[in-house]
């Protein structure tokens, strides 16, 4: 189970059709504790830069993280 720290984030309000139903949603770049970075979605509470997060699922190739 991947863990890491939020490097940056945004809340998307205008999205292409395939994500329109999710709007507004948060996208983050996570610095992984195991090394490297990943762009991911967020489940649950909004996260901020510096928050520790854990990967809760992989939705068809999209990593999803939640605040630890």
């Amino acid at each position: 189970m991947q863990t890491g720290t939020v490097y940056t984030e945004t809340i998307v309000h205008l999205a292409p059709e395939r994500f329109a139903a999710d709007v507004p949603y948060q996208v983050i770049i996570v610095v992984l504790d195991s090394g490297g970075r990943i762009t991911a979605r967020v489940d649950g509470d909004r996260v901020s830069i510096g928050d520790h997060v854990v990967e809760t699922e992989n939705r068809e190739g999209v990593p999803v993280f939640r605040k630890l």
Binding site: Y7, T8, E9, T10, I11, V12, H13, L14, A15, P16, E17, F19, A20, D22, Y25, V27, I29, R37, I38, T39, A40, R41, I49, G61, V62, P63
Partner: protein, 389 residues
């Protein structure tokens, strides 16, 4: 640097940027090309090669094979005609390669054009097409839109340097102030700081007024070997320095997203070729696809120290009356951003200032100008330094 001969811009022409339902992609490109030929007092027969910048013509209009499609419509016969794509730096890249074609001695006279037709698609589809400038296998799949990538850059820049919401908006206000005086600009209205700060969110912290526009438009230049410049114009402009650089497409591959290695790299090489430093540049057209992009570019090109771009902008340093006027044209924010046209359009805007033809927007110091064209979230960058001969 291997031996290169001097290259000059001897003709420039643009269409207005905006929403033109009755002008298709080819019509726009031909209009700009014909203006550039007229400005160079020459005809299509003089052009030895055609370089076209266009980001997503096939996605927006279904038309592919665009370079010969346009060059033949301009009356050019048989010449090498090629389309270049580097996302929003498409026509900057076309210009760079055209420069190399002339500087190396292969051609004497060539045309570079840039065009994009965007308003024929609904906004949701435009958003999808623009997202193609990102990494579709990772960040786009995870829900990133093109504005959201720059929103993440802005968020981190605010975190690292204390850049504020009002700093971003000051860039938008300044660019609208300039664009209001530009007859070719898409959006010619002055906006207040309050309006800019309170517009609807697109991807936080960026709002509608932090984002450049969806536009139709085209731009073109004729460039030639310097020793033949006077055959075409009494106001030739010399390319003092030029460079193109690249970086990973995916934003999450950059160790620090508050700076663009491709901008720093292209900037350094262009300054070196020109034999100048950042402080020698008197004005610049920078790629403000989003307000934060102008701020980061100022820092990456050495106009201000790291992290100071927002503060400098808020204090008025980049207004036409400031120490370093940036985007006197109105920038992408106010002029419009027909993606493939922007690179060459910036060259046209710098040339206009150098030739003293900018009317109400004419800058007092207009001897040495710089154009910076950025692709994606920093995967491509072309920097061009121009001087009146």
């Amino acid at each position: 640097m291997k031996y290169l001969r001097d290259v000059t811009v001897v003709g420039a022409g643009k269409t207005p940027f905006g929403i033109f339902p009755d002008k298709d992609l080819r019509t726009l490109a031909v209009e700009a090309g014909q203006k550039a030929l007229a400005n160079a007092r020459t005809d299509p027969g003089a052009i030895e090669a055609f370089y076209l910048g266009n980001f997503a013509g096939p996605e927006f209009t279904s038309q592919n094979h665009l370079a010969p499609y346009i060059s033949t419509a301009l009356g050019m016969k048989g010449i090498p005609s090629t389309r270049f794509e580097a996302a929003c730096a498409s026509s900057g890249a076309a210009f760079f390669h055209a420069f190399m074609g002339v500087a190396s001695g292969i051609y004497d006279v060539v045309m570079v054009a840039g065009v994009e037709k965007m308003t024929c698609q609904p906004t949701a589809r435009v958003t999808e097409i623009l997202a193609g400038a990102g990494d579709c296998a990772t960040e786009v799949k995870a829900g990133s839109t093109f504005p959201s990538l720059f929103a993440m850059i802005a968020r981190r820049h605010m975190h690292d340097f204390g850049t504020k919401r009002e700093h971003l908006s000051a860039v938008a206000v300044k660019n609208h102030e300039n664009g209001a005086l530009n007859p070719d600009a898409q959006m010619r209205k002055v906006i207040t700081l309050e309006q800019a700060m309170n517009a609807r969110p697109i991807a936080e912290p960026l709002n509608l007024y932090d984002c450049s526009l969806i536009s139709d438009g085209a731009a073109a230049v004729v460039i030639c070997a310097a020793d033949r410049a006077r055959e075409f114009t009494g106001k030739p402009v010399k390319v003092r320095g030029i460079a193109q650089a690249s970086d990973f497409v995916a934003l999450d591959r950059k160790p620090d997203i508050t700076t663009f290695p491709a901008v720093r790299g292209a900037g350094q090489k262009a300054y070196e070729m020109a034999g100048i430093a950042a402080k020698d540049i008197e004005f610049a057209e920078l790629h403000d696809c989003f307000t934060i992009a102008e701020i980061v570019a100022m820092e990456d090109l050495g106009f201000v120290e790291r992290g100071r771009g927002g503060f400098f902008s808020f204090e008025g340093g980049t207004r036409r009356t400031g120490a370093l006027p940036i985007n006197a044209s109105g920038g992408l924010k106010s002029k419009g951003h027909p993606v493939g046209a922007t690179g060459v359009a910036q060259i046209c805007d710098v040339v206009q200032q150098l030739r003293c033809e900018a009317g109400d927007r004419q800058l007092p110091r207009h001897g040495l100008g710089l154009a910076q064209n950025l692709g994606g979230s920093g995967a491509s960058c072309v920097v061009t330094i121009l001087e009146r001969m």
